[in-house]
């Protein structure tokens, strides 16, 4: 690793014999997406080393959940990654269902997939917006993304009663059936979204400034990506086509027809493109699920589940492809109504591991972009 760094640092700077300066980025910094702190060692503006420091948002959620029963932990999963709370609910209820052997009606599965893919749409739209914000575009792309996100949040609010802290999924189904006005609005969102993605792409994808800032920046080679356990769009940008939706075929994903976008190098530009293409695929999935949803019986959203779930002793690990990567829940039950151990495998946390390797040798401005391109939510990293 040190040899690589030596290659990246321009020789003339080293020849000057200047001393590196330490720059402390964060925890309060405009573009650390929460409270993340990096200790940078700089030669001029080139990164020599980077030390990430976490924990400013640590709530010890795993301990909190041990003191609550299974149902009461669902609102807490919302608060892991507050951007996409629906996909946080999903693996948790899956893990409990696995543990307690609960069946899920088909309509509930359809609704869950709809919510997951909507979450993916809004997360990726926001990602692109905030990536551009990190690059210094004056809020315009973010604003467009937020506008689209509002439409999806309206849907969430309609179905679950809350825009961000949805608390929608339950063991053996979902909390409420979809209201009447949900489907027409969903159809509209699904119809309009491709146009939005097209516009985004027209505005950004071949923009020379964006190309200059993104191409060949923060390359993560595929073997390093696999070794570091990176998942989600970051992994797929590094040419490894691994998608839990295809591999595990949980929920309805076995029946759905969609493609997995894969990058070619693994730089920031690939990560951007992979997400843009995933948005198009999500729209495709939504179109298919809407047809499946129409075939199911309204109201059949919840299987018979006791009021307080008491799974038999044992453990279960369930994982899904959340917009940020592989989100897993590992639960250990001792047969009581409270979990014995409640563990979150957070994609943001693991994806941050190779940050230093990606950043070394780049400029300060690139660090921000690379960090943004991993797409983390600090609430999920620190838990």
């Amino acid at each position: 690793m040190s040899e690589e760094a030596a290659v990246h640092v321009p020789m003339e700077i080293e020849d000057l014999g200047t001393e590196p300066i330490t720059l402390n980025v964060g925890p309060q910094h405009p573009s650390t997406h929460g409270v993340f702190r990096m200790k940078l060692q700089l030669q001029g503006e080139t990164i020599v080393s980077l030390e990430p420091i976490l924990g400013y948002l640590h709530r010890c959620q795993e301990k909190l959940a041990e003191g609550r029963n299974y149902l009461q932990s669902i609102p807490y999963t919302d608060r892991l990654d507050y951007v996409c709370s629906m996909t946080n609910n999903h693996p948790y209820v899956m893990a409990v269902e696995k543990l307690a052997g609960i069946e899920v009606p088909r309509r509930a599965e359809c609704i869950r997939v709809v919510m997951d893919e909507l979450t993916r749409l809004l997360n990726h739209a926001l990602f692109v917006g905030f990536l551009l914000n990190d690059m210094g575009a004056w809020l315009t792309p973010v604003q467009y993304a937020l506008r689209e996100r509002e439409k999806i949040l309206d849907l969430f609010e309609m179905a679950s009663g809350s825009r961000m802290m949805c608390n929608y999924m339950r063991f053996g189904g979902v909390a409420h059936d979809l209201p009447e006005e949900f489907m027409p609005l969903l159809t509209k969102v699904v119809e309009e979204f491709p146009a939005f993605v097209d516009e985004y792409e027209r505005m950004l994808t071949t923009n020379e400034v964006l190309l200059a800032r993104c191409k060949n920046v923060g390359i993560l080679p595929p073997d390093r990506a696999v070794a570091y356990g990176v998942t989600g769009p970051v992994l797929r940008a590094s040419t490894v086509a691994y998608d839990v939706r295809k591999v595990e075929r949980y929920s309805l994903y076995g029946e759905l027809d969609f493609y997995v976008p894969v990058g070619t190098i693994g730089d920031v530009y690939d990560r951007y493109l992979v997400r843009v293409y995933e948005m198009r695929q999500s729209v495709r999935i939504l179109e298919q699920v809407m047809k499946l949803l129409a075939e199911t019986q309204p109201g059949d959203i919840q299987s018979k589940v006791p009021k307080t779930v008491k799974p038999p002793a044992g453990d279960a690990y369930a994982r899904i492809e959340s917009p940020k990567g592989e989100l897993g829940f590992y639960l250990v039950s001792d047969g009581s109504e409270k979990p014995y151990r409640w563990r979150v495998r957070a994609p943001s946390f693991v994806n941050l591991t190779p940050l230093e390797e990606m950043c070394r040798g780049h400029k300060v401005a690139d660090v921000i972009v690379i960090f943004g391109s991993i797409d983390v939510t600090m609430a999920e990293v620190d838990r």
Partner: protein, 370 residues
């Protein structure tokens, strides 16, 4: 100002001595500039908020207007399109706590905002805002503008150094490098209209673009004038730290660069200097390339001609400013090394070649005319 002195002489010449009349004229002009500069600044911030908002599908300020409580204690509002937003900003800035870093260089820290705004004010003196409406008709106006506006680099450097903050220092270093590099292509692009007009006086440059119903602008001197306009505009964007070259104050990377440690009115002064510089860059481009106050109707006698000239000048300047906003609302920012590469490897050769070709062209044309 000459006109003003003549007018005052007619009025007061019998009573007052000559030097008093000149002094009075100076005071009037300086007061006008001091009033006009902040007014422009306030208008610009409003235009910026509204314009960027519209580009981003937002409204911009739409509430800051007049209002009162009526009898039922419900509020009545006359939002006035948020036109009073700059005043609200000003009030906010005035009431903010003024912070001076404990370990910074306190005197330099205080001087820097002043040093940032004075050059911008000085430039106002030579810009011809309309037919014969300019503070001083310097015969080396172009050189004066370039010289004075580059002083603000120093102010930013002082600000970054005196703050004792690493972000500020990085910002200041970026500023110094960027402004020094981009001054070269900027000055070189200015040479082209000067060559066309054969004068360094701004007034004469404007008058040189007079015929063809006031449409004989240097930007239409294809390709030389057009190219010079574009190179000037690009390097001017960098000169005033505007997107996509706003690295010195890149908020997502180095927080706010050299203004990180500034608050309250000191920050407002930096802000003001920056906005006035942006306005002046547009005004300067208007004067040099877009015919200044020239336009249909300025030949009319009396007040009408003056009004037309002022109208045309501000229309052109604000259109250019809108283009700057447009860029600001669309593009991301370049990186340090890319910025420098762009200046030295692209812009400087292009402008140098342009100057050379323009010089030859002017000589050849004058020979042909003979």
């Amino acid at each position: 100002m000459d006109l003003l002195i003549q007018g005052l002489n007619k009025l007061l010449g019998q009573v007052w001595p000559d030097w008093a009349v000149v002094l009075l004229a100076m005071v009037i002009v300086i007061t006008l500039i001091f009033v006009m500069a902040p007014l422009t600044f306030m208008l610009l911030t409003w235009v910026l908020r509204k314009g960027i908002g519209r580009f981003a599908d937002r409204m911009g300020p739409n509430r800051t207007g007049l209002g009162r409580f009526n009898k039922e204690r419900t509020r009545q509002r006359w939002p006035l399109w948020g036109l009073l937003q700059p005043i609200a900003d000003g009030v906010k800035m005035f009431t903010k706590e003024d912070i001076t870093p404990d370990k910074g260089d306190k005197w330099l820290h205080r001087i820097a905002p002043v040093a940032a705004i004075v050059p911008a004010m000085l430039v106002f003196a030579v810009i011809p805002f309309g037919k014969n409406l300019l503070g001083v008709d310097l015969n080396v106006g172009v050189v004066y503008v370039v010289a004075v506006s580059s002083i603000s680099t120093l102010a930013l450097l002082i600000a970054g150094w005196s703050s004792n903050n690493k972000y500020s220092l990085l910002g200041a270093m970026r500023t110094a490098a960027q402004m020094v590099s981009y001054e070269v292509p900027m000055a070189l692009s200015l040479v082209v209209p000067v060559l066309f007009a054969g004068s360094l006086s701004l007034n004469q440059i404007v008058q040189g673009q007079a015929s063809w119903l006031g449409l004989r602008w240097y930007i239409f001197y294809f390709p030389l004038g057009t190219l010079a306009f574009f190179t000037y505009f690009i390097s001017a964007l960098a000169e005033v730290n505007h997107t996509p070259f706003d690295l010195p104050e890149a908020d997502s990377e180095i927080v706010a660069g050299y203004v990180t440690e500034y608050s309250g009115m000191k920050f407002a002064l930096f802000f003001m200097g920056e906005f006035m510089n942006q306005f002046l860059v547009c005004a300067f481009a208007t004067v040099l390339f877009l015919g200044g106050w020239q336009g249909p109707g300025v030949q009319l006698g009396g007040v009408l001609g003056y009004l037309f000239s002022v109208f045309w000048f501000f229309l052109k300047t604000f259109s250019l400013y809108l283009v700057m906003l447009w860029i600001r609302g669309t593009w991301p920012r370049l990186r340090v090394d890319q910025l420098m590469n762009f200046a030295w490897k692209r812009l400087v050769p292009i402008t140098l070649g342009n100057v050379l070709v323009s010089g030859v062209a002017v000589i050849v044309l004058s020979l042909l005319k003979k």
